[in-house]
Amino acid sequence: MTALADHGADHGAEQGVGQADSPLRRFLADFFESRVATVAFAALLGIVFIALFAPWISPTNPYDLATVDILDNRLPPGSEGFTGMTFWLGTDGAGRDILSAIFYGLRTSLSVGVMSGLIAMVMGSSIGLVAAYFGGRTDTLIMRIVDVQLSFPAILVALVLLALLGKGVDKIIVALVAVQWAYYARTVRASALVERRKEYVEAATCLALDHRRILFRHVLPNCLPPLIVVVTVQTAHAISLEATLSFLGIGLPVTEPSLGLLIANGFEYMLSQKYWISIFPGVALLITIVTINLVGDQLRDVLNPRLQR
């Protein structure tokens, strides 16, 4: 009897210990509880894989002008080109294989989105932490700058910056960082304000730890959950903003099209029924942004303590 009871107690204890010891496992279980999120996550992994390995899995290199032939332009999906190669998704107005162009375009779009997202996150959250921790004038000054920044439409700020800076991947990233950092600053400040008043921060202050250590080792980790959610949402936002800028023709050079530019190039062929030049890159962009947003939504649900069931 006692043995049985002991056994049961042991079992329970084991389970309890297992759960308590592995918040990651609980997090994963919560995350993959939703089938939509699981599918979205798998699709996102696929997209990231394509973007990372585009040069090895693309049928052609769409940026190599020596292999792109104008004589192959505007071929419908599935047709054969001059060299006998099949263009499964057709070709665009310059003779590029749409499938390869989408692979390379995803690479550009994702790297621009992630790069600008990361830089903006580091910048924005540091500024937000500083504002929350020091408070007073520093806080007021920083938050007013953030307010001013947020009161301008993102696309307008990006347009002005690109008009001043010129074309190129690096310049697009600069413009996107300038547009995004304020969101991170605001989010991190809000949760850091809450954390700052907690006892563990007081304890750390009493131990006379320096500001940097308190900020980055104590406060920041506790602000991470909302930050992770903002990162995913803002990355999707950055990708669509980059596509918009390219669509308007002020992003990247015409010979190295990203998804937005591919869509813009095909736009003028829409009325003449050459749908594939715009539609396929459009679908790729749509899938990318929707999957990132779905993953972001699920992250928010899982990481939000108030929604904890």
């Binding site: 032939d69 050079p253 015409v254 009325l271 050459k274």
Partner: protein
Amino acid sequence: MRIMKAVLGATVALAMLGAMPAGAKELRVGLANEPTAIDPHYHNLTPNNALTASIFDTLILQDDRQRLLPGLATSWKALDSTTWEFKLRQGVKWHDGKAFTADDVLFSFERAPDVPNSPSGFATFTKGKTLSKVDDFTIQVKTEKPHPLTPNDISQVKIISKAAATGASTADFNSGKAAIGTGPFKFVEWVPSDRLVLERNEDYWGEKSEWSRVVIKPIKNGAARVAALLAGDVDFIDKVPTPDIARLKNDPKLSVSQGPSNRVIYLHLDQFRDDSPFVRAKDGGPIKNPLKDVRVRRAISKAINRDAIVERVMEDVAIAAGQLLPDGFFGVSDKLKPEAYDPEGAKALLTEAGVPDGFKLTIHGPNDRYINDAKIAEAIAQMLTRVGIDTAVETMPKSVYFKRASRGGPDGSPEFSLVLVGWGAGTGEASSPLKSLIHTYDKSRGMGASNRGRHSDAKIDALIEEALATVDDAKREALLQDATEQAIGNLAIIPLHYQVSTWAARKGLSYAPRTDERTLYSEVYSN
């Protein structure tokens, strides 16, 4: 009594209804390029010149192939080699009812070269000419040197009303205050980027237009313009985008008119700098500018597959070019054919010129000026890359592009190494491109004004100058042909193709295509 009244009322209403459609016919137009002003002397630019031609007249008009026709002048003749006499049309009324006289002509030619803040003016047509009044309907034009193209120059300057425009600024024209002409339409209003409204001039001296009102909507985007026509929002559009032409031609509800333009699309190559900013060795280091070598220029010309550009990029709506103007214009040589596509020959020439492995190059072009301009630049980059010249493409809006291409470099020199541009011969003959594109750059004399490659050859200069001063037509034509042949032989520029203009309208309207690409609303007819 009540019945009487009702019948009377109905009759009046019917009469009014009947009267309305007979006199009132409105033409709604979707226009690709909105003019920058209503002031006809502000900006010498095709969209401006085209629109103001409906409001203002010139002494001499041009027909659809740019041959000269009497306008406000009924006849003209050369009294001697430097004096021309113009007889003016009598009984012409300005839109405000005043009478047109020689004083208006003198006033117009005085104002034309001298409008404040003009981005590109009309001095090139008035330079070296002195006008004098003989009587109210006769004027004389004195030129410094014999100048057989005087009538062609005169045909480019719009005549404005002295009474209405004395002291008027460009803004006064745009508001309508000074926009008083003698043309087939009166100016009603202009709301920039929304609409421009014209009204028939009932007292026009020539054939009256059948349209009592013309409403012009600027629609910059090609696809949107076509969509507006398909939806019936407009009756008539210009500059149909090439991807849509085939479809519109097959649409039974529409009619399409198409004809060659006097505009050649060509490349200028940097021929004046030893170190050209956008030419680099394959390893990215400096290289002695190979574009100065005629063999390299010929290699570039041979590497370009003009037929592929015409067929694949322009969708057969263009004509491969071998010189400065298409066949049929004055001064065109019948010996020059488009350079044949020969990539092997191009590679051989590069080897001969000492750059067997090619070099790095950037082609610059506008992306909103010529038909498919950015796509042409991209196709050329492909073709040059294939013979070993690694070519990058940079395209930009015309507002930025032309400034940089003409004077963006140090000391106002052209900034780029290889530029894609076009030239429409406003005078309708070969001296116009020869003078502006081929002649040695000389700002003070207005020669080589758009020579962005700075090609310079004293022999060709002499031929052009001689042609400009030769009154005898046959002799002048021979000189122009000779100059063209030598310029193309030297590859001063590399011609690509001549544009073809396309207009589309709802069924029942017709428009005869013009070589100067202008849309003249009085020449839109319903049949």
